[in-house]
Amino acid sequence: MTYHFDFGWLIDYVPVLLKGIRITMQLSLIGAVFGVALGIACAWVRALGPRWLKPVVATYVELIRNTPFLIQLFFIFFGLPSLGIKMSELTAANLAMIVNLGAYSCEIIRAGIQATPRGQFEAGASLAMTPFQAFWYVVLVPALQRIWPALSSQIVIVMLGSAVVSQIAAEDLTFAANFIQSRNFRAFETYIVSTLIYLALAILLRQLLAGLGWMLFPRKASR
């Protein structure tokens, strides 16, 4: 083996990497917030929503969960313009992430809702809450508390999955790595460094979400 590892030159590319990190984090943040919101809405439909909407949501969830994220991304970015719906790379990337996380978080939140005793709804109703109020105040919060670890893992998975948005030229961390690699052909060093950055981001994100869960749900779930 005659290859000599050399990481020194990467100093010149720190701004490029930082920009990539910023965009990856930005995409993940927007994706997480809106994706979980979409997931909550879908979980509500599946638990309590109007009858006609249930099969629509079920189809959406099954379709997304059984197709690769890459294809969803390509469909949104390359396919939708044929219908006259055009968007920038970053918008398409974010939309794909939201749609993807929405389906997964719907299933996760639904599992949490199903684990909530039926009596909770009735208790809410007996306090003269509407079904929606009972869902929002009585059922959802304990459900979220219960499934918070699973939801956090899914958010981390979506953050890591966002690496493929580089394929539609959204300038995330992987895009930065590909750019650097194409400049100096030191592929191995470039990808090792960006992989380690992803690892650090994943650990950081997991800690942040754990902290957020601790802040949002200070009391232990009563079981």
């Binding site: 059984n66 690769p68 044929s82 992803y198 994943a202």
Partner: protein, 219 residues
């Protein structure tokens, strides 16, 4: 210019889908073997083995599959091996699958009551005998639904190998799109073919879960 009929598009995609199926099978079987080895390291034996296995799992679960593919593609080359895309794809997917399967199976082994370990130890069994005769037969039943469920992730994971140039269903989708200028139809069809591959797996995982749970309750 050649005209492409709907049938031409579908036929080409289906031909490429064979590679998706083959790659999924190789990754799943190979990942299962490596994952089983990791599992043994992870739950038994010496401290350094457990740490090593845990580090491996953390590393592969905490980094994007795409980066692992890039590293396999460019990294193996450093050792003087000429790396075709299919080899890099197999290596990366096997290692990635192994990390997830090991972790899934660990959960299943840990779901077996501690008393079972103690009971078999009291019969004078060694670690491997305990695993072989007492723990694994029970854990296997718990492990079937999540393992089948994870196979869906493997099939979807193979889509990423298109990025390093392995021609499977996703790559074929891009190629056909470039030839036909019909991205909506082509990517729609690609998605449907993936769905046709994955949905039966998801469904059977759910069915198995229900079935095995019922069996569990009757004990």
């Amino acid at each position: 210019m050649t005209e492409f009929s709907f049938w031409d598009i579908l036929r080409n995609l289906l031909l490429a889908a064979r590679w998706t199926v083959l790659l999924s099978l190789v990754s799943f079987v190979g990942g299962g073997v490596v994952g089983a080895a990791l599992l043994f390291l992870r739950i038994g034996g010496r401290r350094w083995m457990r740490l090593l296995s845990r580090g491996y799992i953390q590393l592969f679960q905490g980094t994007p599959l795409l980066m692992q593919l890039f590293l396999a593609f460019f990294g193996l080359g450093l050792f003087g091996i000429d790396v075709p895309a299919w080899l890099a794809a197999c290596v990366a997917l096997i290692l990635w699958t192994a990390a997830f399967l090991a972790e899934i199976w660990r959960g299943c082994v840990e779901s077996i009551a501690k008393g079972q370990w103690e009971a078999s130890a009291s019969l004078g069994m060694g670690y491997l005998q305990q695993m072989r005769y007492v723990i694994l037969p029970q854990a296997l039943k718990v492990a079937v639904p999540p393992t089948v469920g994870f196979s869906v992730q493997v099939v979807k994971g193979t889509a990423l190998t298109s990025i390093i140039g392995f021609v499977e269903l996703s790559k074929a989708g891009s190629i056909v799109t470039n030839a036909t200028f019909q991205p909506f139809t082509v990517y729609g069809l690609v998605a449907l073919i993936y769905f046709a591959l994955c949905w039966p797996l998801s469904k059977s995982s759910q069915l198995l879960e229900r079935k095995l749970n019922v069996a569990h309750r009757n004990h």
